[in-house]
Symmetry: C2
């Protein structure tokens, strides 16, 4: 009786605490936003940076997040990634409630009544007349299955199932063991997938609230009724639990997941303290509210829905796997599923730095620890293995960004070593895995020549990464190193071809051969898009020619001066051309290399044009539908881009610079980790009033169209006055810094 009172008091206290510090913003999160139209976001239950992402694997199991809009459901698996492109990864430890005999060759079922909400997924499986409700915590999943009346109701656990597509995953092996009529454990070992990584093993331990009347296992395509375990012979295995059920009978399962072992998987169930679905779900929702409540908004419900869902999407990855690293023992944090830093260094990680700097610090520390044990920091990483590198060694920019924004607790000396290793030591055999490919050229010729793949992307990105190295070296007092890399950060100019003309603009990034000759114009065009083996990766010269984030002033000069540069930006943002199937603008927010370009107007003193492009993009490319994200969310990249611009500014990653665009909300209060608040107000802000008329930063008039992280890191205020017409604001103030002018 005494105990009950104590529990009651604690519950009361928790409730009070919740009411004080958190508002239920979770209602604004709609996991359906962006599931379709290539957004590829993961719609199933999970918590911020959670290791378990529990959701359905559908159709041909070739959708990157497992879910697809119409395909049959094969089951619910526990590990997924969100918003990725290319080949699939994960889709491990799959469970399904069925009735009748198991058709091992295809047990999938059509679905109906699918309903997705934050940390809750439910669906009816028509083939079996069963229902499933799912929720999840950090390292465990909760399944609530509802059966019809049947003496052959079953829960199956398939350890040979995983997502598949091109750049495919392959089964290495699996093991399963039924421990009792309510317990089963085992593992699934897979290699490959998008990052072409080595083998990873997902262990599980599942317990059920109802004893099974019979159990069995399978191996390859053969069922073994009554057999309690299957041994790893590089084949698929699975297990099933059979129940006699009355109509509507529920059987629940709690499933612990681990990358270490089955004992650890079981221990990871400690966080799952209840057999009540709603209680478990509430625990997850509370974790989301803690993140979401870092930003309090005043504005339209529609925009809030887009915004908070974007926050939700931004905080899905990388995944916190501290304590779950099977490759080395370390006291450092461990994060996996950097998928990919090429995408997320631009907006997502800067968002973490602003809202959750302690987590961003942990991520940086994990990157350095990966360098120390695996040899290189990753540009992408998944399944405990580095890969792949799309362009530059973009983790360099994360380090520089952390340093200029004052993140503490990071070993910057070792970080610099790892950056220099990227720059100087070729990764060898597989140049898509890590480090920098083609540096035999870059470090001798000053550019990557056409004899290497992705030569254009690499040269331009390496230049910006070199600037990041210089940034860190300079702050560490290593002047000689800083000088060397500042110098190298000009290398983009070595493949700038002044002779190329397009749509009235001269000078473009252009393929150059190792002998110094240019690729002829009949072999390459400024509109040629490419991928892995090509000159440019997921971009084209018209767009990638803007990619000089560290020296926009020099870029302006190369483009013929400010006026011509503004014209060039205008063309980029307005020109439409026939692209095989439709007219398409040159600017596509769906592609990261263009992320920063809208704010380049600021560098030419025209923040009003930045506002126009940004607000048009927010308005036309983001919405609350299933296709509400402009393209592949790329691990929250599209979402983070939205968040920054909706708040009214955008980071130039690796530099202590935010460029002002156009705030969407009338007010936004950011609760910073240090307990301070950043209060953003935008008087008169509306769909029409998109132009900044004036800004006050921390109470002082701000006549320039940018500010520094240090200006807001300790809280403060950012007061915009908005209007329907361009104003003089920001046009004559100090311009943002650039390498060649600072």
């Amino acid at each position: 009786m005494k105990n009950r009172i104590i529990i009651f008091v604690i519950t009361l206290f928790t409730g009070v605490s919740y009411a004080c510090s958190q508002v239920d913003l979770s209602k604004y999160v709609d996991p359906y936003i962006g599931v379709d139209g290539g957004g590829n976001v993961f719609p199933g239950p999970c918590v911020p940076f959670g290791m378990v992402k529990l959701g359905p694997d559908c159709g041909n199991k070739d959708w990157n997040a497992g879910w697809d809009p119409t395909g049959n459901i094969h089951g619910f698996s526990h590990v997924h990634v969100s918003g990725t492109g290319g080949g699939c990864k994960y889709g491990n430890i799959l469970m399904l409630p069925i009735t009748g005999a198991i058709q091992l060759n295809d047990y999938s079922s059509p679905r109906s009544e699918e309903a997705i909400a934050l940390s809750s997924y439910s669906v009816k499986l028509d083939r079996y007349n069963t229902q499933a409700r799912l929720t999840a915590l950090s390292k465990s999943g909760f399944h609530e299955y509802t059966f019809p009346e049947s003496n052959d109701s079953k829960i199956i656990i398939d350890l040979g199932s995983f997502l598949q597509s091109h750049e495919k995953q392959m089964l290495v092996g699996s093991e399963v063991r039924i421990l009792s009529d309510t317990e089963v454990e085992g593992y699934s070992r897979i290699r490959g997938g998008w990052n072409e990584g080595g083998p990873y093993t997902v262990y599980f331990y599942a317990r059920f609230d109802t004893p099974a009347k019979e159990t069995g296992t399978w191996k390859s395509n053969r069922l073994y009724p009554g057999k309690l375990s299957q041994t790893d012979t590089n084949e698929k295995t699975g297990a099933y639990f059979t129940y006699q059920t009355v109509k509507g009978q529920k059987v629940c399962a709690q499933v612990g997941i681990s990358f270490m072992g089955t004992n650890k998987a079981k221990a990871n169930l400690e966080e799952m303290k209840s057999w009540n679905f709603e209680e478990v779900r509430n625990t997850a929702v509370n974790q989301w509210n803690e993140i979401l409540s870092k930003v309090q908004l005043t504005g339209s419900e529609e925009n809030k829905k887009i915004f908070y869902t974007a926050m939700y999407h931004s905080f899905l990855q990388p995944v916190n796997r501290t304590g779950e690293n099977p490759k080395w023992a370390s006291d450092e944090p461990y994060y996996d599923d950097y998928f990919a830093i090429w995408d997320t260094f631009r907006a997502t990680h800067p968002l973490f730095t602003l809202l959750v700097p302690s987590i961003q610090t942990d991520m940086i520390r994990s990157l350095i620890d990966i360098y120390k044990h695996d040899g290189y920091m990753p540009d992408a990483r998944s399944g405990n293995d580095n890969g792949r590198v799309q362009g530059g060694s973009d983790c360099d920019i994360l380090i520089a960004d952390a340093m200029v924004k004052g993140l503490k607790g990071i070993d910057y000396e070792t970080a610099l070593q790892s950056m220099i290793k990227n720059a100087e030591i070729a990764p060898g055999g597989d140049e898509r895995k890590e480090g920098r490919g083609g540096i035999d050229d870059y470090n001798t010729l000053g550019y990557v020549s056409t004899r290497h793949e992705r030569a254009g992307s690499r040269t331009f990105e390496y230049a910006n990464c070199d600037f990041a190295i210089a940034t860190v070296a300079k702050r560490l007092g290593k002047q000689e190193i800083a000088e060397k890399y500042y110098q190298r950060s000009n290398n983009w100019q070595n493949i700038w071809n002044d002779g190329i003309e397009s749509l009235g603009h001269k000078g473009f990034l252009w393929p150059k051969n190792a002998d110094g000759s240019w690729c002829p114009e009949d072999k390459f065009s400024v509109f040629t898009s490419g991928t892995w083996p090509d000159f440019l990766y997921e971009t084209f010269s018209w767009e990638m020619s803007f990619y000089v984030p560290h020296d926009v002033n020099k870029l302006i000069e190369k483009c013929g001066g400010k006026k011509q540069f503004i014209n060039r930006l205008d063309t980029y943002f307005t020109h439409e051309r026939w692209d095989q199937r439709w007219f398409m603008g040159l600017f596509q927010i769906s592609n990261e290399p263009g992320f920063l370009v809208p704010t380049f107007y600021n560098y030419a003193g025209r923040p009003d044009k930045t506002a126009e492009v940004v607000r048009k993009t927010l308005r036309t490319r983001y919405n609350t539908t299933r296709e509400g994200i402009p393209g592949n969310d790329d691990s929250g990249s599209m979402s983070s881009w939205y968040i920054f611009h909706a708040l009214g500014f955008y980071p130039n990653a690796g530099q202590d610079v935010y460029l002002i665009s156009s705030p969407l909300f009338q007010a936004a209060t950011l609760s910073l980790e240090n307990g301070k608040e950043l209060k953003i107000t935008a008087k008169n802000a509306s769909d029409k009033n998109i132009y900044v008329q004036s800004v006050r930063l921390n109470g002082k008039e701000l006549d320039k169209c940018w500010f520094r992280h240090t200006d807001i890191a300790n809280g403060g205020s950012l007061e915009f006055i908005m209007g329907s017409k361009p104003s003089k604001w920001g046009k004559s103030g100090e311009l943002p810094p650039s390498l060649s002018t600072n």
Copy 2:
């Protein structure tokens, strides 16, 4: 009753079969030979190429095979390597019979009554008054423990124990689970060690023949009596089983080992069909007899003891891990613990090709499968990870050797691809891991310059490896590739410095800078030995200057012609110089780069001098003591060198050439896999009669001092007449082939 009869009949049949096909040669194997004096061979129970090598880990746990001569015994662990140098590897899943409380900080015990025989190890543990007897099969170990009278007898299983030294292993994690009063399972995950490899996991399942009265576990340094399992938190764990024993009571354990999972470890116990120590041991001994009986000898008992023990040592590694590959699923064989091919390509693998070509074929197939999945063939590999490369990419030579000796069932096209990858694609970040380091120099300058480590070893070895590539390309009809690599195989000449003089001989391998200038003589000496970061790896210029196996004729020319070359060999084999601590000959059979040099006299028409050097080496550097192997056995390399020369010939690996030296035994019959026999007789052979007077090969007079594999691959006869004085034989016949003269 019926069953008993059947078993009796089977036993009888097995017995008869054994008597017909096998002689008990196991009595000639003394596992103590070479355990000390740096031989580092593994003395414990195991079977040919067996995955489990069960033996004691002693002293500071810094002896490469676990055993040391005097240190305390920590316990008996299941995975070891034999005859390795550098840092330790393995020493996993350690068990010990004790009495009383467990001192987790040091439970080791002094020993007495240690006795080692083939597949049997026994010892008394003085601290506890317990005894242990061990034997092992391919994937499982058998422990027979004898306890004193005690109500606190214990068997402990430590999953945090492993061998340690420089190039050290590190614990990644471990898990343990007691399943019943007679069963326990778990794993130990380790990374590092000599090859600086990634993490490997050793799983185990142990069952005892006696129920424990109590059990418990530990984690880190804390005991948990009664707790049945420990979870992986990157710390060491262990378990113990307690018994009440009467004096002399035996408790036996059968332990299955796996690199896949605990179920697989349990399944691997299937081979262990008896709880009777002798029965299990006999199974192991029979497997050894099957190997040993491939050579039937007539000669002294002493020499037979050395010979058969050398065979035993040669057949310990690489380890057959087919079905135990946790990195990919494949139908190809899987071998691990190539430790290292730099050692074993010279004599050990050629021995396999002669005696067990089907196994050598499987090994080559495993190398190609490793290339297909890990990116490079290994030069060394352990714990499922490539590393390290000491000089060349010597697996190239294995491929060429297999091809010229006609091994079937190998995908030579893919093999050639992998060889070309070695030659052309730099391994990157860690150039000690795989492939060829320094090829930015080698493939442009024609040599590895002094700006790279091991530049001398690499240049000379790459040249021979290039010859191997040309050999394979030519046989595949790829003339252009063959020509290119034949050309490159001359590259050793690019760092041959005619101006260097030593002990009256001119022209030596010499460090050359990238600008083409030579290293000055006051900075380098022909006597300078080196290791990883140096110009030469485990050799010195006087010795390594001979390393031109593919073009000995050109080497003779560079040395000033035959006469001068013979003089130079004489100097190499007779000169002694003060080497810090003692006078030392230039020639040291303890070091592989000198392995082939004795037979170089054959290339100059002086096989009598080959005989002298070889027989002196066999006589003075090999014996039946614990220091009976001239140096580190290097995974059977020293042993295989002995075997070939004791038979009277030695391979020039990668070429279809055996060079005749001087047979030790009066007769030797080799039972080949194809059912044919090679009968070697050596009339008058004795310690004095070391000179070949004449040879008949397959009944025909052989006037040259070499022959081809094809001459003996289908059996035949090799009839030597020996005498006490050099004869004219072999001096005027056709000389062995060389690149520049064939």
